[in-house]
Subunit: 353 residues, 2 copies
DNA sequence: TACGGTAATGAGAGCGTTTGCATGCTAAGG
DNA sequence: CCTTAGCATGCAAACGCTCTCATTACCGTA
């Protein structure tokens, strides 16, 4: 019994008439202890309500059983599914998760990294490929293993799990072009410090350049990821001289905003204008019309990154032979929000080319 | 430099030519150290990239700087806002948060409590007033302070933050009655182990009993909190002999499901049927028509519970004089989904009374 | 110059666990 | 009956930090 009145290993040992070593083993490696001993120790533990002291454990074993994840934002569901499956996978090994958000700001990411390390993270999951050099340095000095997710364009020396944002956007854009659209606008998240957003825009441009020409892009609006921002961006696009017949949005949240605003302005989707999203979060099928979007391998990424990170943490010889990079495929989900070009607008727009 | 190659306090002390005590103070109570000393220590820390070892700190100080929160579900946004403000408030004091979910199952809650304690939580935030006796016992044996939220109907000896679910539902129902509705159906979450859901149903009944009679309730459907469940519940209600003119839903998620299904079936809301929600999450204004609902003091609860919990953790003399219970007001948000009773149905329904 | 008081620092004893190594015991084989 | 392998257990040294208490340094005042 320590000064706080909380039971300790020593109390258990004394009461069970064994050494602390045996009690410790009984907790951490039950198979190393004789059945009989184990039972009597467990009885004592139950009786006096002993819980191992976290700090003592962490100090002696140099492990906390906690890992951290830093995602850009929790405000919308973009990362929720992946984080959930990440968490579930960890939970199977009794590892807990602490989530922080960076707000798409590398400085804040660095802060979160420090904070998570200070809070005892055994390993970290980070979003995207780019970060401050200082962040990488901190990670290395603290000797914390980490995995990056959400983008496969990654330094080969690092451990990463993701998909090809650029390629996915490319495919989606091809579908849009196939529907006959020639005046295309983009509503993107802020590109600064966001390699995923940059890649998506690049993918759109790739597709357009390949099949037609750059002039097809009427405008690119950069804004924050929120429904309201999507609404405002829509207004902006519709106030331009050249209005688009299709709007490709950086994610489903922006697309939802655009769709809602279209409805408010009595602009029919997809009759008058087509709108596409990215991510395929729940929202995509809640709005009407349901969004054509890109399904991102959230569950797969969550699981794969958890497995990778746990291997890294356990360390040992097998690290050398580990796969350093997992790349997933994406899938285009064609739904109601993408349709053919409206005739009248189609003609109008042709004048410009 | 320890065996892992990670820098320790001793390394810093040696390099800065001071004792470990001074370095420790410099980190934890900078004002107790001379400016000059502090600067030189900080320089060394920066140079060798020292991060305090979590385990050592936790062991010596008997604090982890982490608290846990257990909410019933993360699958929808019901608890998100409160948790976020809880977290933000904690963050100001450099306390981190670990969230677990119980799935509305008391056994799972117990498991999560144990898990969070095992992971070093300094304190806990729990949802609702009811739980297993064993859970309370575990909490006490581990000497972990905790606060309950979301329901103010609470044992006075405990620390709680919440609002009166019953009263809120009562007010909302009054509004529904004021619009002339006399055939009212309820779609509730499962009542078992959910004091909030129970209270909301009781509040509805209170209002109806007070102003009219029980017979006005055409049906009560219990189901899980999901959009799909809301849809199915709606179908169930509409297949009854007596159909309602208003559906009061246990939360916005269920109400959203009902609304979506109504739209699918070409039943106009609120023209043919009124629907109300509870919680006022984002979803409530995303669906159309926007939901009439109850605004729950999520931000307030989050902040208040964080403050209360932190006081409890710091302990000291002021605990005795602490306020043990904070109760917030709710607000009825009248939006499009609630309207007058359609004439034809009104007449039909009158026949039954 | 001596002295008291205060601010800054140092010494060192824990904090509760884990774990490598030593020891003791049991059972099987010679 | 003695050896020996192998399993179960105990001993005790870390692990890295905090914090109390003691000590030193410095200043102003008598």
């Amino acid at each position: 019994m320590n000064t706080n009145g909380r039971a300790t290993l020593i109390d258990v040992a004394r009461k069970a008439k064994v050494s602390t070593a045996t009690v410790s083993r009984c907790l951490s490696h039950p198979d190393k202890v004789a059945e009989k001993t184990r039972l009597s120790i467990e009885a004592v533990i139950d009786e006096i309500g002993y819980t191992p002291h976290f700090g003592g454990r962490a100090l002696a074993s140099n492990r906390t059983g906690m890992v951290g994840a830093i995602i850009p934002t929790m405000e919308n569901a973009i990362f929720a599914t992946a984080i959930q499956s990440f968490q579930e996978t960890l939970a199977k090994s009794e590892i807990s998760l602490q989530v922080g958000s960076s707000g798409y700001d590398p400085e804040k990411e660095l802060f979160q990294v420090k904070s998570l390390i200070a809070h005892g993270a055994d390993g970290l999951l980070l979003t995207g490929a780019e970060r401050l050099q200082k962040t990488t340095k901190v990670l290395e000095q603290a000797q914390i293993p980490y995995v990056t997710a959400w983008n496969s364009k990654n330094d080969i020396s690092k451990y990463s799990v993701g998909f090809d944002n650029r390629l996915a956007a490319f495919s989606l854009t091809q579908s849009v072009l196939d529907f006959g659209h020639r005046n295309i606008a983009i509503i993107s998240g802020f590109l600064e410090n966001n390699d995923r957003a940059i890649d998506r825009v690049l993918g759109i441009k790739d597709a357009i350049e390949k099949h037609h020409n750059k002039g097809l892009i009427t405008d690119i609006v950069e804004t924050k990821y929120s429904i309201k921002a999507g609404e405002e961006a829509f207004d902006k696009l519709m106030s331009n001289t050249i209005t688009p017949t299709a709007i490709i949005c950086g994610n489903d949240v922006l697309a939802t905003g655009a769709t809602i605003r279209a409805k408010m302005r009595n602009i029919d989707v997809p009759g008058d204008i087509s709108i596409t999203g990215f991510d395929d979060i729940d929202l995509a099928t809640v709005v009407s019309p349901a969004l054509t979007t890109v399904r991102v391998p959230q569950v797969g990424m969550g699981e794969a990154s958890a497995v990778m990170l746990m291997k890294l943490i356990s360390g040992g010889a097998n690290i050398k032979s580990m796969i350093r990079r997992v790349e997933f495929k994406t899938e285009i989900m064609i739904r109601e929000s993408l349709g053919s070009v409206p005739n009248i607008m189609y003609h109008t727009s042709r004048n410009y080319f």
